[in-house]
Assembly symmetry: C2
Homo-oligomer: 148 residues x 2
């Protein structure tokens, strides 16, 4: 099944700040959407909302301190339900590397193309949050097309 | 085989300016790399260079006025050789939509993750070129990680 893949490198002496930005509601609100809520525990649910556009509910499947996070989408657009989103972290010199995967799309639909580009802009937002202290979470996210 | 997919929407009354930016050396130099050369004819080759990082040679397989372009990579990094890159264009209201695909990667290697994110930034550069008259081609391209 098709996957969305990305890699960003974030100037940071370790992966711990990036891990915190992926595993706390405050961190998630700093780069993805300011309307981030929920329980960041294994089996817990995280809820991300994007105003009138709706949002996503994720079940937390894995939390590996400093090295990775795995979520499964349990509610949201039909194309997303059942897909899995992971962030694998490692340190390379001055950079905390994020290997991102949004896996198990059923078909490479046009919406998947949109989400791939949009994820890239949100990962660059995560990079900005850590490097300069400010990301571009929704509603300040970058418009990529007529779907926002 | 895994593919990189993206979608951008560019504010433009038709797809013709975007098509020109994909099919002329001047256009390509405005958003991907200033060192773009070659023959934009079917069967011709385009050469893109990124300074010390090397570059890519593409054979032009298809040119469909206003609706699409297909290239095959004939020289460059081993992972790229034989892969195909397409830009499908269509108009939706005020937006020229670009559906991008870099297809037929043999394996979803870490370099593919990097290229996916990097393509997103270059497609946003294409969007800027058309919308505000200025892109961010190499060497002014956006750094995404420790691989540049």
């Amino acid at each position: 099944m098709p996957d969305i893949l990305h890699r960003v490198g974030i100037k940071s002496p370790s992966t711990s700040a990036v891990y915190a930005a992926l595993t706390t509601v405050e961190g998630l609100a700093g780069w993805w959407t300011i309307d981030s809520q929920g329980e960041n525990t294994i089996g817990g649910e995280l809820r991300f909302r994007f105003g009138a556009a709706g949002g996503f509910d994720m079940k937390v499947l894995e939390l590996d301190e400093g090295t990775g996070v795995l979520w499964q989408v349990v509610d949201g657009p039909a194309e997303w339900i059942g897909t899995r989103i992971s962030f694998a972290l490692k340190q390379e010199g001055d950079y905390a590397i994020v290997l991102f995967k949004h896996a198990d799309w059923r078909e490479p639909v046009e919406f998947m193309h949109h989400c791939s580009t949009k994820w890239a802009t949100f990962l660059m937002s995560l990079k900005s949050l850590i490097e300069i202290g400010k990301g571009t979470p929704h509603p300040d996210d970058i418009t990529i097309d007529n779907w926002k």
